[in-house]
């Protein structure tokens, strides 16, 4: 009998324990996120001095978060790989201003090839058609995608989850009405919806947030609604009701926390979709605007100047970068799902 090897195993910490984080962690997340958002969204309004150090606190926060993530997701290599990819880009995003990179908008040596040494600068990844350093542009490029992508997803979730809870818990005509609106929105192919909305609002980061909200919120609403319907029939909800709790309280404190797991998984996937969307839209000229570096933009600009083998790196670099980020999100989602299924 092999009872020996069992004793040294400890019961795995359940998934939700890991997801359900102490407030300190939330603090860290904010510490990472708020500066980054400030820097990217409101950069123009910040004074240069402020701009120069606003991101400093975010760097240790990011590293800390990464360490926590890796340690707590130990037993899911998939999740760890995902986290590593995502956090790599997060790290680059928050530390870009402090990395030894030249100004990503500075035209130096057009079409300098990979590893070329021109204008006393090494172009490790070459330069684009304006002679701007690809490496620098590629690294800086992740900032906007990350910030806009994540904020868009967040907003979409806030809206979607709220209506989902409403529809799922109150049901009745609330459900009817909300579902109808969602059906209308869901009957558009996403890209069509994006094109229409952005074409109407005009291309800009904030409008992308709006567009993404319109496109994703219905789907999210459906998910949350489903989860709510499922949870709603649980005894602890009855318990709360028989305690005479206010519906809003029940929704937010009793229902929502238990929909957490699936929502987080879905959110990761959705982050991927949003990233794709933003890059694609920018490529189509409906998204973020030049001159600041952005992967979609780099692709867009390169497609008309780099259509030969010799210059193809201009296309490949941003394409691979964005893919790696999305891969990160997807793996993360997979890992989390895997873990949530285990316990």
């Amino acid at each position: 009998m092999t009872t020996a090897n069992i004793s040294l195993d400890t019961a795995p910490v359940p998934f939700n324990v890991r997801i359900r984080q102490p407030t300190a962690l939330i603090g860290l997340v904010l510490l990472m996120w708020v500066p980054l958002t400030l820097y990217v969204m409101f950069g123009p309004f910040l004074s240069d001095t402020l701009k120069s150090f606003v991101l400093l606190p975010a760097i240790p926060a990011t590293v800390a978060l990464y360490v926590i993530a890796v340690t707590s997701w130990r037993e899911s290599p998939v999740a760890i790989i995902g986290a590593t990819l995502v956090f790599f880009w997060l790290f680059v995003a928050v530390s870009a201003p402090y990395l030894p990179l030249i100004d990503p908008n500075k035209p130096l040596a057009p079409f300098a090839e990979m590893g070329a040494y021109k204008k006393d600068h090494w172009f490790l990844l070459g330069a684009d058609f304006k002679g701007r350093d690809m490496l620098s542009r590629d690294l800086w490029g992740c900032q906007r995608v990350l910030v806009w992508g994540v904020s868009a997803t967040l907003v979409a979730y806030a809206v979607g989850a709220f209506f989902g809870l409403l529809a799922g818990y109150l049901s009745g005509w609330w459900d009817q009405a909300i579902s109808l609106v969602c059906n209308i929105l869901l009957s558009f192919p996403v890209m069509v919806l994006f094109i229409l909305i952005l074409n109407y609002l005009g291309p800009s980061g904030f409008n992308i947030v709006i567009a993404v909200t319109f496109a994703s919120a219905p789907a999210i609403m459906r998910i949350v609604r489903g989860l709510t319907l499922d949870t709603r029939s649980r005894d602890y909800i009855f318990a709360a009701q028989t305690r005479g709790e206010h519906p809003l309280r029940i929704m937010i404190f009793e229902l929502l926390p238990n929909a957490r797991g699936p929502i987080i998984v879905d959110a990761c996937l959705r982050l991927g979709y949003t990233t794709v969307a933003i890059t694609t839209l920018t490529f189509l000229g409906l998204g973020l605007q030049p001159p600041d570096p952005d992967w979609g933009l780099m692709i867009k600009e390169s497609t008309k100047v780099a259509m030969v083998w010799k210059f193809s790196y201009m296309l490949l670099i941003p394409a691979l970068s964005v893919s790696s980020l999305i891969l990160g999100f997807n793996l993360l989602a997979d890992g989390l799902r895997e873990m949530s299924l285990r316990d």
């Binding site: 059906n183 209308i184 869901l186 009957s187 558009f188 192919p189 996403v190 890209m191 069509v192 094109i195 229409l196 074409n199 109407y200 991927g272 990233t275 794709v276 890059t279 694609t280 490529f283 189509l284 000229g285 979609g296 692709i299 497609t303 259509m307 030969v308 083998w309 193809s312 296309l315 490949l316 394409a319 691979l320 964005v322 893919s323 999305i326 891969l327 999100f329 997807n330 793996l331 997979d334």
Partner: protein, 316 residues
């Protein structure tokens, strides 16, 4: 069942009506009229136009009448199969749309023809034995492919096969007449993305079925493995993928925009984008409605198919 379909179709028409009206309303703004003028006459010319000339131009374009009136005319026209005339392309929208849809249809046809068998095969094989090498392989491939956005896939494929190896043309504009080689890259791009997703779904559903108790029953009945898989497992495992595959039509309409623009393939997606950028309201209208139609129709089909495949619901 028929009642259900009927009501869904009705709902669809309603939705279409609402949407088209909204579109007319928002594209009625001076901004968009100006945009059309600029695109057609050029910025210099437009700003040189006197107000009177501009009005004359609007009148020539039929943009001077209030939008609800235009909407009514348009609806009336649609009733007789006349979708109006494209400002940019200067030809009846119906013809324009028809040709573009044929192109995109062809693209989609190939995509499905390749994607469905591939993804189902991989998915089923992977799902049959969870955790087996082929399962891990499939999962890996599908995560990878789903993580490559079309634009990236398109670029990578183009760089390798068109710019590098020079086996295939880098764009699908097909100026020298029809050329299947030009279609390869766009199709591959779409297949690659879609394959992963469907394969994952198929795998998941197959795995779930294989873990179900009735499969255990079937095995413990002493049935041959082939029988268990083919008769007991597949039927139940393919219900979910079926609906997903049908819903891919909807997704494909989004996918083609990028691919067609990147490869300059004169299809539906490119048409829609051009129209939107130009402010070509009648084309936008028709294109959007077509898109919505396809989307909703595919939803209906998948629902109906689902109920049909699933006795539990069919005889509820």
């Amino acid at each position: 069942m028929l009642k259900l379909i009927g009501s869904r179709l009705l709902q669809m028409l309603l939705i279409m009506g609402v949407i088209s009206f909204i579109l007319f309303a928002i594209f009625d703004s001076d901004k968009f009229k100006k945009q059309i003028a600029v695109n057609e006459l050029g910025g210099f010319a437009v700003s040189a136009l006197s107000e009177q000339d501009y009005q004359a131009w609007l009148e020539k374009k039929g943009l001077n009448v209030p939008f609800y009136q235009r909407y009514l005319n348009w609806v009336a026209g649609v009733a007789q199969g006349d979708f109006g005339k494209s400002f940019e392309k200067n030809e009846p929208v119906a013809d324009l749309l028809a040709t573009r849809l044929v192109h995109t249809g062809l693209l989609a046809l190939w995509v499905f023809a390749l994607m469905i068998p591939l993804s189902l095969l991989f998915g089923v094989v992977a799902g049959m034995k969870e955790g087996s090498p082929q399962d891990r392989l499939t999962s890996f491939i599908s995560v990878l492919t789903t993580s490559l956005p079309e634009i990236a896939t398109a670029i990578i494929l183009t760089v390798i096969f068109a710019l590098g190896l020079r086996w295939l043309p880098p764009n699908a504009a097909m100026v020298n007449g029809w050329d299947w080689r030009a279609l390869v890259l766009p199709v591959l791009t779409l297949v690659l993305y879609d394959f992963g997703y469907v394969a994952r779904m198929t795998r998941a559903s197959m795995a779930e079925v294989m873990n179900s108790q009735y499969i255990r029953t079937a095995i413990l009945k002493g049935l041959p493995y082939r029988r268990v898989i083919l008769r007991h497992a597949l039927r139940n495992a393919l219900i979910a993928p079926f609906t997903i595959i049908v819903l891919q039509m909807n997704w494909l309409l989004s996918g083609v925009v990028v691919v067609e623009v990147f490869f300059q393939y004169a299809g539906f997606g490119k048409l829609l984008l051009d129209a939107a950028l130009f402010g070509d309201i009648y084309v936008i209208q028709a294109a959007t409605l077509v898109a919505v139609f396809v989307a909703v129709a595919s939803q209906i089909i998948s629902d109906v198919g689902y109920t049909f495949l699933n006795p539990r619901i069919r005889f509820a």
